[in-house]
């Protein structure tokens, strides 16, 4: 990992911003011979106010829905110019990746460009004021899925974008969390060794949107993993090669209780059904992905 700081201090991100952490770690892993592409989102607005820039590497922000396509064009141009040592990385939020940008991302993955696309997932449209996305955890209260006397928050499941990426038959797909920086940075670095498209989903808690103390970003991120809500794994050439085992599985309530967005689930007995459903979701993840107990698969090269 490079020790050089490529993500300058003084950005306008909120205290405890998970997206800023993810970006800083990402650049540690890529080094400075990189071109970074971002869709519209928090990251773009808090790093690129005209006249200032946090980016010590070339950085391109186009639109909300086209980072995958812009990165494809950059990569194709570099190939024609013979600048193939320079890496191309895209990093964007869940709105720009799970939702509006999924078409361009799918196109990029299908064509197999040498790009690592990283989605920092803070589970809602934070830049516009915490609106629900397809990455929002079920039953979270957001400004467009508010809890109320007739609502328990977001009703639909979280989209499994990493699985969708995997279905494109790309060489490398991984999930990660900013709560495990070394693991995330290793995955970014490892992704760059593959020929073809790579996708990394990194969980990045948002203190403002989720409603927790700004000092607790890493802890909240860790709880998401330790409860089984956010499985951490990696896959090479379509096969899952590694999962992060949970030493001591925690009940989902420990994760939910520290966040304002789930407050309504504890306000009365009415939330019991949803709490049970979320616990069941974690149980299923743990079972399906084999998250409990000791490591079984150890083909990690990082």
């Amino acid at each position: 990992m490079t020790q050089k700081e490529l993500f300058a201090s003084g950005h306008r991100g909120c205290p405890g911003c998970g997206a800023a952490m993810a970006t800083r770690m990402m650049l540690r892993a890529t080094g400075d011979d990189v071109i970074v592409v971002s869709p519209t989102g928090c990251l773009e607005t808090f790093t690129s106010m005209y006249g200032e820039s946090c980016w010590e590497v070339p950085w391109f922000h186009g639109l909300f829905e086209n980072a995958g396509a812009i990165a494809s064009g950059v990569e194709a141009a570099l190939k024609m110019q013979g600048r193939t040592d320079t890496k191309v990385v895209a990093i964007g939020g869940d709105g720009g990746t799970f939702d509006i940008g999924i078409g361009a991302l799918s196109g990029m993955l299908e064509r197999g460009h040498n790009v690592t696309y990283i989605c920092y997932d803070n589970e809602a449209y934070m830049n516009t004021g915490v609106q629900r996305s397809s990455a929002t955890t079920p039953y979270a209260s957001t400004t467009t899925s508010p809890a109320g006397s007739h609502s328990m928050g977001k009703t639909r499941p979280k989209k499994n974008l990493a699985a969708i990426a995997l279905a494109h038959d790309v060489p490398y797909v991984a999930t990660a969390s900013i709560a495990y920086p070394q693991d995330f940075m290793n995955k970014v670095k490892k992704s760059l060794t593959f020929q073809g498209s790579r996708f990394i989903h990194v969980h990045a808690p948002c203190p403002i949107g989720w409603g927790f103390d700004t000092a607790l970003t890493v802890e909240v991120g860790r709880l998401a993993v330790e409860t089984g809500l956010m499985p951490i794994w990696e896959a090479e050439y379509g096969e899952i090669t590694k999962v992060r085992k949970i030493r001591e599985v925690k009940p989902i309530e420990e994760y939910l209780k520290v966040q304002r967005r789930f407050r309504h689930l504890f306000a009365s007995d009415a939330g019991k059904k949803e709490l049970a459903a979320l616990q069941e979701l974690c149980n299923k993840n743990i079972e399906k992905m084999g998250l409990a107990g000791e490591r079984k698969v150890t083909t990690d090269v990082s």
Binding site: H61, A69, S72, A76, A77, Q81
Partner: protein, 396 residues
């Protein structure tokens, strides 16, 4: 001397693009743009063209891929039509605002609903305010020439703007015409490889696509407007340099045909110019003083050239192949009227013609002239736009 061959308009464009040696081409099919992209795919398959040819997932991605490639310092090309161009809209504003010199072809086709695959200009006039340069061509030869020129214009260090070359679908894109194709070496000399002023390079990292607020957004707009106004002289100069090199000149911002002594001048864009020139020749043989002013550059709009060309005319018949629904005139009429506003301006008679591919024959031109003659003689005629060749039975 180049080589003259009878080829399809789409082939003329594909050859021009091939000879421009773009690093990246992004293709998404839409009728009637498809032949251009198919011919280019053939060139790649045959080894005639070395490029990254990307078959993308949408027109939105087609424009975005080309944008990314230009930002990375490469020459890039794409093309679309109608609904596909509309899907590119947000990207094209972005490309123009970022001052990235990409070239794309708009194969003109009407816009739904109702769905229609025939030519008019409803699709490309939409881009009026994007800050892109828009050139309209009249035939396959000009389509070839204009594409070669477009890269030069776009990449000029004083311009740095995307150029949209507008080519009427079918009438030009799918029609076989004799076209002179120049030798590659001569094209290479006229159009050297793209040398970007700014590009994505780790050795000199730039931030592209910053967020801008009230303190500087207007200043960006000012510079953009300055650049496209400055492009007027470049478009003319590059067309003249092309003439000097290859011996053909289809106009710079405009082209006048028999307007010097004309009382009645048609103002129009695109393939209808050919019909109008033929009609003018016939009408001149009958002793009528008519001419044609081709608007080749719709943006930047040739205000001074139009004023000069119409200085002695009594009536300007403006033909629109698009409607600004809700205004009561077409975009070319509105702009021409604005350009001519003031004392001694000729009377403007607006016509909608060729919408959705509606046929415009010589007799229709003669009818327009008959109306203009009345106006020229001082008779009161309606200044409301006339729907040429409309089937009143369908609308009554």
């Amino acid at each position: 001397m180049g080589k003259k061959a009878v080829i399809e308009g789409s082939m003329a464009i594909a050859i021009a693009v091939k000879q421009a040696r773009p690093h990246v081409i992004s293709a998404y099919p839409i009728t009637p743009q498809t032949h251009i992209m198919e011919f280019l795919a053939d060139f790649v398959a045959n080894g005639e063209l070395k490029t990254e040819y990307l078959r993308v997932d949408s027109e939105f991605s087609a424009a975005s891929v080309a944008q990314g490639a230009v930002a990375a310092g490469s020459r890039a090309y794409t093309a679309s039509a109608s609904q596909g161009l509309l899907l590119m809209t947000e990207v094209l504003y972005n490309v123009a605002g970022m001052r990235l010199p990409m070239v794309l072809t708009g194969v003109n086709r009407s816009v739904g609903t109702p769905v229609n695959i025939q030519p008019d200009h409803q699709d490309t006039v939409l881009f009026r305010d994007t800050g892109m340069i828009q050139l309209y061509v009249e035939d396959a030869q000009e389509a070839y020439d204009a594409h070669v020129q477009a890269f030069r214009i776009a990449e000029d260090r004083d311009v740095l703007l995307p150029v949209l070359v507008c080519v009427d679908g079918w009438t030009i894109s799918h029609t076989f015409e004799p076209v002179e194709v120049e030798e590659q070496e001569k094209i290479d000399a006229f159009l050297p490889p793209y040398k970007p002023l700014y590009h994505l390079d780790p050795k000199k990292p730039y931030t592209f696509g910053s967020i801008s607020i009230d303190k500087d957004l207007m200043e960006f707009r000012y510079l953009h407007e300055e650049a496209i106004q400055g492009a007027k002289a470049k478009i003319e100069a590059i067309a003249r340099e092309f003439e000097k090199t290859f011996g053909r000149y289809y106009g710079g911002l405009t082209q006048s045909y028999k307007t010097e002594d004309a009382d009645i001048v048609f103002v129009a864009m695109g393939s209808i110019i050919g019909t109008l020139k033929e009609a003018v020749d016939e009408l001149r043989a009958q002793g009528k003083k008519v001419g044609v002013l081709k608007v080749r550059s719709y943006r930047p709009f040739p205000v001074e050239e139009i004023r000069a060309a119409l200085a002695n005319a009594k009536v300007a018949c403006v033909i629109d192949r698009a409607i600004s629904i809700g205004f009561g005139a077409g975009p070319l009429t509105i702009d021409t009227q604005a350009a001519l506003y003031g004392p001694n301006a000729p009377q403007v008679l607006p016509f909608y013609a060729g919408l959705g591919g509606k046929d415009v024959e010589l007799k229709h031109v003669a009818e327009m002239v008959a109306k203009a003659e009345k106006a020229a003689a001082g008779e009161a005629v309606s200044a409301e736009p006339e729907y040429v060749n409309i089937n009143w039975n369908l609308v009554s």
